[in-house]
Subunit: 333 residues, 4 copies
C-alpha cells in the first residue's frame, strides 16, 4: 500500500479541473493521483448533477486505476473543493489504496449482495496491499442509488426494489456500504450481513459512505496508518477519529482537534490537513435527546441538506476552514 499525501484545492465550479494544474505546480504528476474526493455544490440528493458533472470531467483526466468520490451539498459555509489523495515517493505515516467493486445490478443496491461486494473489494485490496485491519483508519465509499429508471428495471425483471423512494434508496445504499466496510475490517461480521441490514443499527467509526446516480459500482478509498514514518523534518501525516454524539457535540470536536493539533516531538507545529465528517438528522426528531429539530418534517428541504449545513457550520467555524468534507447521511457510521 503506497505512502500517500493529501493536498486540497478550491474549485470554482463542478466542472473546474484547474486543481490539476496546481498539483503540477506543487510537483505532482497526474499519475500520482490515487483518488479525488470532492465536495460539489448540488443538493447532494438524487438529482444532483453537479456530482455527475464533476465525475465526468475528472474521470477523463485521472489515471484509470484512480477513483473519484464526489459528495454533493455545500450548504451554508461549506465551500466546494477537491481533496487529492496522492501517491508519495517517501513514507508519510499515511497509506492509501483505492479500488472499485464490481458493477452492482440495480436490484442489489442496498442489499446484502451490495454489502458483500464492498467487503470483498476491500478485503482483496487489503491482502494485495498488505494492510492490517488494525491499521485502517477510514474507508470512503461512493455507491449507487436507485433512480426511477433503475426501479422500473428492477420491477421489469420481476424483482422487488429495496424501496420505491429514490431519496430513501440513498440511505439504504449508504447503510449497505457501511456494513460492507465493517465486515471487511472485522471478519466475524461477514455472516451477519443480512441480519445487520435488517436490524438497522449497525455502526462503524471507520466508514464514510455517500451515494449518487453517477456510478453503478462502488468507489472505495482506504486510508490507513503506516508503520513507516518519515524522517523529520519531513512532515508526518497522522489520523484522528472521533464520534460526535450529537450534531452539537462541540466538546468531542474540540477534544479531537486539541489532540490533532498538539505536535509530537520532535515536531513543533501541527496543521490540520482535512476533516472527513458525516452529518445526520437524529431519527428521534431530537438533538441530544432534548431539542426538537424540524429536519425530518421539512418537506421543502431534505434532512441531509439541513444536517450538512448545521454540522458544516460548526466544523468550519471551529476549524476556521470551509474546505472540509462534510457529507450527509450517517447510516452505519
Amino acid at each position: 500500500m503506497p505512502p500517500a499525501t493529501i493536498l486540497k484545492f478550491p474549485t470554482s465550479s463542478p466542472a473546474d479541473t484547474t486543481p490539476l494544474t496546481r498539483l503540477q505546480e506543487a510537483g505532482f504528476k497526474t499519475q500520482d493521483i490515487l483518488g479525488i474526493v470532492g465536495k460539489t455544490e448540488g443538493n447532494g440528493c438524487v438529482n444532483d448533477f453537479s456530482r455527475t458533472l464533476s465525475s465526468h470531467v475528472w474521470d477523463a483526466l485521472i489515471p484509470e486505476t484512480a477513483i473519484s468520490i464526489f459528495s454533493g451539498g455545500t450548504e451554508g459555509v461549506l465551500s466546494p473543493h477537491v481533496t487529492c489523495i496522492l501517491e508519495s515517493y517517501e513514507p508519510t505515516g499515511l497509506n492509501a489504496a483505492v479500488t472499485r467493486s464490481r458493477v452492482l445490478e440495480p436490484w442489489e443496491v442496498g442489499t446484502a449482495e451490495h454489502a458483500k461486494a464492498v467487503t470483498e473489494s476491500i478485503r482483496e485490496t487489503m491482502i494485495e496491499e498488505n494492510i492490517q485491519p488494525g491499521d485502517v483508519r477510514l474507508v470512503l465509499v461512493k455507491c449507487p442509488l436507485l433512480t426511477s429508471e433503475r426501479i422500473a428495471t428492477i420491477q421489469g425483471s420481476g424483482r422487488k426494489p429495496v424501496t420505491l423512494d429514490t431519496y430513501e434508496s440513498m440511505a439504504l445504499s449508504r447503510y449497505a456500504s457501511a456494513i460492507g466496510i465493517g465486515a471487511a475490517i472485522e471478519t466475524f461480521l461477514e455472516p451477519q450481513i443480512p441480519y445487520l441490514l435488517s436490524k438497522g443499527d449497525f455502526q462503524t467509526p471507520f466508514a464514510s459512505c455517500s451515494s449518487g446516480a453517477e456510478l453503478e459500482d462502488c468507489h472505495i478509498l482506504i486510508l490507513s496508518d503506516s508503520r513507516y514514518t518519515p524522517s523529520p523534518p519531513a512532515p508526518l501525516l497522522r489520523t484522528f477519529t472521533s464520534t460526535l454524539n450529537t450534531a452539537i457535540d462541540f466538546p468531542s470536536l474540540q477534544a479531537l482537534l486539541t489532540k490533532a493539533l498538539t505536535p509530537t516531538a520532535p515536531y513543533t507545529t501541527a496543521t490540520l490537513l482535512q476533516v472527513f465528517a458525516k452529518a445526520e438528522a437524529n431519527p428521534s426528531g431530537l438533538v441530544g435527546g432534548r431539542f426538537r429539530h424540524t429536519m425530518l418534517t421539512d418537506s421543502d428541504l431534505h434532512s441531509t441538506r439541513h444536517a450538512r449545513a448545521a454540522v458544516g457550520g460548526l466544523i468550519a467555524g471551529v476549524t476556521g476552514d470551509c474546505w472540509v468534507y462534510v457529507s450527509g447521511g450517517a447510516e452505519g457510521t
Copy 2:
C-alpha cells in the same frame, strides 16, 4: 422602563401556546408579558405561514400592549421555542420596553418613511420610559414585507414599489428598520436616513430586524441595561454584544461567551439565558474573503435559510443550546 426578566420554553408546533401554562407555573401572570420573541419552523421567507400562525394564536392571548416577534426558520439544529420577555417586580439589571410603529402603507415598506416611523416610535418610548441612548443594548424589530398583493396595491395607486421581488422586499424592510433603530439611538443620523438607505452599507450593533407578511406595522422590543441592580443572591441579568466578522468567526463567539460566562463577584456562577444573533450570506460570495460559498447561487434554497443553518449550527454547538434566536438576513446589523 420596567425591570424585566427572561424565560424561554420549547414549542411543539407554531400553534403551541402551552408556554403560557409554564409561565404561570413559574409564578408569572399573563399581564406580566411584555413580549414574546419566538423562532418558528417555517422557511423564514415570504410565504412562512408558521410565523402567521404563531402570531395568530399568541396575539389573542397576550396583553394588548404586549408585542410578538416571530422569526421563521429553524434550519439544521435550531429548535422552535419562545423567549418570554416579562415584567419583573424587582430590579434585575435588565430593562425592557415594547411598542409598535404606526401601520405602514405598502408603498412605505423599505423606504425612509418606514425608517422614520421606527425611529419615532423608539424615541417616544425612550422618552416615556426614560431610557438613555447609551443604555440601549438591543432593539428587536419585526417589520412588514411586500406580497404580490401589496405590490399590486402600490402599483394600483400609481406608485412604484421598492422592488418587484417579494423575497428581496424582506431585506429592504429589514434594512429600513435597522436604519430607523440607528437613528433613534444616534440622533444626528436622522437627517441622513434617505442617504443611508441609498448607500446601503449602514450598520448598527444594536439592531435585530426580521420581516414577515403577518403584520403591517412594526413590532419593537427595546432591551437596555438598568442602573438598578438586584441585591444578591437575586440573579443579575447582564447583556453582552459582539459582531461575528464572518459566518465562521468562532474566536469572536468564544471570546463573547467567555466574557458572558465569567461570574462577577459576589456571584459565583453565570448562566447563559439567551443568544440573539443575525446570520447572513456574505454578498461577496466568499466566507472570510477566501472561501467561495454557494448560498447566493442556490436557486433551490434561499440564502437566509443557508445562513441560519450554518450560523445556528455554530452557535448551538458552542453554547450547547438549540433554543437560540438566530435570524436570517443581517442588513444594517
Copy 3:
C-alpha cells in the same frame, strides 16, 4: 341527508375568512355551513402551516357539526379559494353530509384501524342520513399524518410506525382513508381491508383523500345524488365522475366537461360549479407509459407538488377556472 348547494370564493391568504361575509351577502347563515373545502398556498406536504392556519381560523367560526378540509398546494396557476358546502332549504339534486371519525392514535395512522374507523363513520352517517351506496358520488377525507413527534410517541409506546418517513406517511394515510371509503360503499370489501392495505393497488373512483398535521381525526364529506330535484327554473346540481388515465389525459377530461356542460331539458344552460381532482406522479417514472418524468427523482421538490402543478395547469386551462380543487397524491383513487 340535507340538500346542499355549493358556493366558492377566492381567499387572499390562509387566514382570510371574508368568504363568510360574502356567504351572508348571498343569503346564507353561518349555521348553513356543512363544510369548508379549501385550497391553501403552502407546500401541501408535512410542514404546511397554511393548512393549519386556515383550519384554525375557520374552525373557530363554523358550526361545531361542520367540518373543514384544507388541502395545501396551489402550485402554478392554481388559486387559493374555499368551496362552501351549504345546507339548502330546497332540493337541489345534490345531497351532502359531513362527519368525523374518532381520534386516531398515532400508531393507527395508515393502518387497518384507520381504514376501519373511516368505514365506520361513513356507514353510520349513511344510515342516519339514509344514503344509498349507489347514490354516493364523492367522499372527501382529510386525515392525519405522522410528524417526528408522533413517530417518537409510537416508538415510545413500544410500537412500530408504518413508516419513519414523515412525507411517506401522508401517502399511507391517504391510502388507508381511500380503502375506508371503498369499504363503506362496498360492504364486501370490509373483511379485505388488511389485504388491500398490504397489496397496495386498491382504487375507488369515489374517494379524494388528503392528509395533514393539523388534525388527529378524519374529516369526512359525503356528496351524493338526490332523488329530489328542484322545480325548474331553480338550478339543478349534477355530479360527473371520470378517471384521467394519465396526467395528460386531455381526451377524458374534455369528454367529461362536454358531458357536464351539456344542458338537460328543460334547462338551456349549464355552468361548471367546481372540479375536485387528484393528481399523482406515476410510480413507473413514465407518463402514459412512454414519457420519462422526473417528479420522483427531484429531491428539491416533492412529486405531489409537481403533479398538482401539471394537472392543475391542464384542468385550469381547459376549464378557464383557477379556483379548482386539485389535490396531490392519488393513492387508492
Copy 4:
C-alpha cells in the same frame, strides 16, 4: 440559409448522447447537426448543473459550427429530450441557421451591449444566409447569467452589476436577448435599445430566450420559412406562432393547434413536430387579471419552475406530447 429538418429524441439523463446513434440510424451524419435544443431535468435556475452537463457532453460531439441550447426544468409532466436541428439536402419549407455572439463580459450581461451583440450576430447571419426579416419565425437564444463569482468580478473592476441577485440576472439576461432579437428583425428598434431596456415592457413574438451559467457568449438559432418547398409527397415543414394571453389561455392554444394540424392540399395528414413555448408567472400576481396566483410569493420554489409546470401541463396535455420545449421566464416575448 440551409433547408432544415427536425428530429426529437428522449434522453435518459443529462449525460445521455445516445440520440446521436438514433440520428445515424435515421440516416443523418454528425456533420448535419446545426443545433441541439434540449430540455434537461435540473431546476432551470442559476445552479442548474444538468444544463452544464448536457452542454459539456454534447458540445464535444457536435460540429464546431453547431450550437447547443439547453433549457433546464422539466417540472411536472415535461419530459427530458433533445430536438435536433439538422441540415437537409432537399428543401423542406423550413430554413435554419445558427451562430454565436462574441463572449460577453460579465458587466455586459443584461445591458444594451448584450442586446447589441445579439442584434449584430443575428444580422450578420441574416445577411450571410440571405434571410429576409419577414421570413424569420423564431429565434432561440441561450445567454449567460451572473453568478456570485461574476458579480464579484464586475465589482472588482469598479463597475456596477445590473443586479446583485443571481436569479434575477437570468431574467435581465433573457430580456436583453429578446430586445436584441427584436432589433435584428426590426432595424428601426436598434437606436431604442437602451430605452427599451429601461422601460421593461418590450415584447416580440419571435424570441425564445433562456439563460444559464454554462456559457459566456450567446448561442443563437434562427428558424425561418423558406421559399423553396419540397415536392409532395416529401413532407413540408411549416411554422405557426401564437401568443397565449394568459397561462390558462386554452382557446388560443387550441386555435393554433387546429390551424397547425389542418393539412393543406395536396397533403392529407399533418403531424406536430415540436412546440417551442415560454411560460411566466404574471407579474401582477394574477392569472388572467382575476385569479390570485402564489408563484411570486413562494420562497421555496422559484416562479419559473411553477410556470413551466403549469403551462407544460396544459401544452403536454392538449398535444399529448411531453417532449415539448417549454421554457420559463418570458421577458420580452
